[in-house]
C-alpha cells in the first residue's frame, strides 16, 4: 500500500522566516537478508562485550507502513488511508508550538501536535458552504459542538464555555462555540473552538490549543487598580471595558498574566482611523501597556 504524497513545491528563497516546510520521509529500507545479517552482527558484538547491547536505531520501517499522521487523518475522516491520495504533510509553527499539518485537497486540513500526536485542528473543506435554508436551532448546534469537542479534547470537562456566536460569512453561516480553560479568575490560553454549519448541522471545523503554563495565575494587582492604570494610559478613551484576567500570548512563546482592558478611542468625524487598544495591565507589577491594537 502506497500513500501518494503531493509533489514538492519548488520554493523561492524566503526573505523572512517561512513557517512551513515540506516533510520528506526517509526512504524505506528493503531486503530482509540485510536486516538478518545486521542482527547477527549486533548480537555477536553484544556477546563479545559481555554486556547488554542496546540497539538504539529505530526498527526498520516496513515499506508499506502508513505514516501516523495519515493514519490519524484517515480515522478522523472515516475513510481508508489509501483514499488519501494527494495528501501532503508539512510542519507549521503555531503560537503554542509546532504542528504537523496534513492537507487532503478539497477534503480537509488537519493539524496534530508534533510531539503528542493530539489532533489540534480539522477543517472540513466540503462543509464550508450553504447559503439557503433555515438555521439550526441554537441548542441543536450546541449539542453537536459539545459532542465533537468532548470526543476529541482530553479534559474537556474542565473547560468553561465562553461564547456562542452566530456568524454569517456569506459563503456559509456557523455557530462558533468557544470553550476555554480557567484557573480561578484567570482565563488560560488552552481551549477548544468548534464551528457548526448552521444550515447543515455538521461540524465545519474543530480547533484546540493546549500549552503548559509558564506564568503565575494569581494576580497581585486588583481589577480596580487595573482600571486606573488603563485610564492613565488611555486618558482620551471614550470607553473602557471591565478588566478581564487572562494569560496572553505575547509572541515568541512568551506568556503573561494581565488584566485586559479594551479602550475605544473618541469617535472621529469624517473618514478617520479607529485605533481600538487592548491594554494589558501586568497582573503582577501593575505596569500597563498597549498589548494589541486595531
Amino acid at each position: 500500500m502506497t500513500i501518494l504524497l503531493d509533489r514538492e513545491v519548488t520554493l523561492s528563497p524566503p526573505v523572512h522566516d517561512e513557517s512551513v516546510a515540506v516533510y520528506a520521509p526517509p526512504a524505506p529500507r528493503r531486503g530482509g537478508g540485510r536486516a538478518v545479517l545486521a542482527a547477527v552482527v549486533a548480537v555477536s558484538l553484544a556477546a563479545v562485550s559481555g554486556a547488554a547491547y542496546l540497539l538504539t536505531r529505530p526498527p526498520t520501517p516496513r515499506a508499506d507502513a502508513v505514516r501516523w499522521e495519515l493514519a490519524a487523518t484517515a480515522e478522523i475522516l472515516g475513510v481508508p488511508a489509501e483514499r488519501l491520495t494527494g495528501a501532503s504533510v508539512s510542519d507549521v509553527e503555531a503560537p503554542t508550538g509546532v504542528r504537523r499539518q496534513v492537507v487532503v485537497p478539497d477534503r480537509a486540513l488537519l493539524q496534530f501536535d508534533a510531539l503528542t500526536r493530539e489532533m489540534n485542528q480539522v477543517v472540513f473543506s466540503d462543509r464550508l458552504d450553504g447559503t439557503s435554508g433555515p438555521l439550526l436551532a441554537r441548542e441543536e448546534a450546541l449539542a453537536v459542538a459539545s459532542a465533537y469537542a468532548s470526543g476529541h479534547y482530553a479534559g474537556f470537562d474542565s473547560l468553561v464555555r465562553r461564547s456562542v456566536r452566530v456568524l454569517d460569512h456569506d459563503a456559509f453561516t456557523e455557530y462558533r462555540v468557544e470553550w476555554q480553560e480557567r484557573s480561578g479568575e484567570a482565563w488560560l490560553p488552552n481551549g477548544v473552538s468548534v464551528g457548526v454549519n448552521a444550515r447543515t448541522g455538521t461540524v465545519a471545523y474543530y480547533w484546540s490549543a493546549r500549552t503548559a503554563l509558564t506564568t503565575s495565575v494569581t494576580a497581585r494587582v486588583s481589577a480596580t487598580d487595573a482600571t486606573r492604570a488603563a485610564r492613565r494610559l488611555a486618558p482620551h478613551a471614550q470607553s473602557l471595558t471591565v478588566p478581564e484576567l487572562s494569560v496572553v500570548l505575547a509572541g515568541d512563546g512568551q506568556q503573561q498574566l494581565v488584566w485586559v482592558v479594551v479602550a475605544t478611542p473618541p469617535h472621529g468625524k469624517g473618514a478617520h482611523v479607529a485605533v481600538i487598544e487592548h491594554i494589558w495591565v501586568d497582573a503582577l507589577t501593575g505596569i500597563a501597556r498597549v498589548g494589541a491594537s486595531t
Binding site: S12, V15, S90, E178, H272, V290, T294
Partner: protein, 272 residues
C-alpha cells in the same frame, strides 16, 4: 486628484487581450500586490506583505511588496494585477464608534512623520471624504493629516482575489456606504473578496510574532502557498489568529461561482 482617465487608458489595453468566462490563464503571469506598513500609532503589520509575496511568487505569480509606501505606488500595477492584499489600517466612517464602514485602505507613507495619509478607495460615494483631518488613538497620540484617496477597488476588474485585512473592511451600511470587500465583489466582480465586519487586531510593535494579525497572515498565505483552497486556508488562519479574541472570526468570504479557489494556476478572473 483624478487619476481615473489614466486608469481607463491603462485598463483598455489589457481588456482587449483578455477573453471572458471564468479563470483566464496567461503566458505572462498576472501580478499580486501585497501591502503592509508600520503606522505611527504603533500598528505594525510588517511581514504580512512578505508572506503574501512568498506565496504568490512560489505559485508562479509576478509579485511585489509595498511596505511604508504611498497609495499611488499600488496604482500602476492595476492593469497587470489579479491579487491585492492589504494589511493595516482602514479609513472608516460612520455615526458612532460601533457603527462604521471601511471606505479605503490606508497607507503609512514612507516616513514616520508623514502628514499625508493616502488611501485606496472602495465605495466611490466616499470620494468626497478627503482633506484635513486628525487621526488619534485613545492613548492620546494624535496626528493632523491630510487624507487623499485614489479610486482603486472599483478598478479591480479581472481580479482573482482581494483580501482586506483591516477593520470593518466587509461591514456595510454606515452612513449608507459600502465596504471594501463588498465593492470588490459586487462592483469590480472580483472572484473572491475577503474582509471583516469587526475590528481586527495585531500585537503592538511586534512584527512577525505569529500571534493575532501576524498569525492570520502567516497561516493564510502559508497554506495558499502549499496549494490549499482559499476557504479552507481562511478558516485555519482565523483559528490561528485566536478566533474572536482579536476579531478575526468576523470574516466575510465573498466568492463568485466558478471563480478560482487556489493560487494555482496563476490566473485572472472574468465572470461569464
Amino acid at each position: 486628484m483624478n487619476t481615473r482617465p489614466l486608469l481607463v487608458l491603462l485598463l483598455a489595453g489589457t481588456a482587449l487581450a483578455v477573453p471572458t468566462g471564468g479563470a483566464v490563464a496567461q503566458e505572462v503571469p498576472p501580478g499580486a500586490t501585497c501591502v503592509d506598513a508600520n503606522f505611527f500609532d504603533g500598528l505594525d503589520t510588517r511581514h504580512a506583505a512578505t508572506y503574501c509575496y512568498n506565496a504568490t511568487l512560489a505559485r508562479g505569480w509576478v509579485a511585489q511588496r509595498l511596505t511604508n509606501t504611498e497609495a499611488t505606488d499600488a496604482l500602476p500595477n492595476l492593469p497587470r494585477d489579479a491579487i491585492f492584499y492589504h494589511a493595516g489600517h482602514a479609513l472608516v466612517v460612520g455615526p458612532t464608534s460601533n457603527d462604521v464602514t471601511a471606505i479605503a485602505s490606508a497607507f503609512a507613507g514612507p516616513t514616520s512623520t508623514s502628514t499625508t495619509y493616502t488611501g485606496l478607495l472602495g465605495d466611490p460615494q466616499a470620494a468626497t471624504l478627503q482633506g484635513p483631518t486628525q487621526v488619534c488613538s485613545s492613548s492620546g497620540a494624535c496626528r493632523d493629516v491630510t487624507m487623499v484617496n485614489y479610486p482603486h477597488v472599483t478598478e479591480m476588474t479581472k481580479f482573482n482575489l482581494a483580501v482586506f485585512q483591516s477593520c470593518e473592511s466587509a461591514r456595510d451600511g454606515a452612513f449608507g456606504y459600502t465596504s471594501l470587500a463588498t465593492v470588490a465583489s459586487q462592483t469590480a466582480l472580483v472572484g473572491t473578496a475577503i474582509g471583516f465586519v469587526t475590528p481586527v487586531a495585531w500585537i503592538r510593535n511586534a512584527p512577525g510574532n505569529n500571534v493575532a494579525g501576524d498569525a492570520f497572515a502567516r497561516r493564510f498565505w502559508g497554506d495558499l502557498r502549499n496549494g490549499t483552497d482559499y476557504r479552507t486556508a481562511l478558516v485555519a488562519a482565523v483559528n490561528a489568529a485566536g478566533g474572536s479574541t482579536y476579531g478575526y472570526s468576523g470574516y466575510r468570504y465573498l466568492h463568485r461561482s466558478g471563480a478560482p479557489e487556489r493560487l494555482s494556476p496563476p490566473s485572472y478572473y472574468i465572470p461569464a
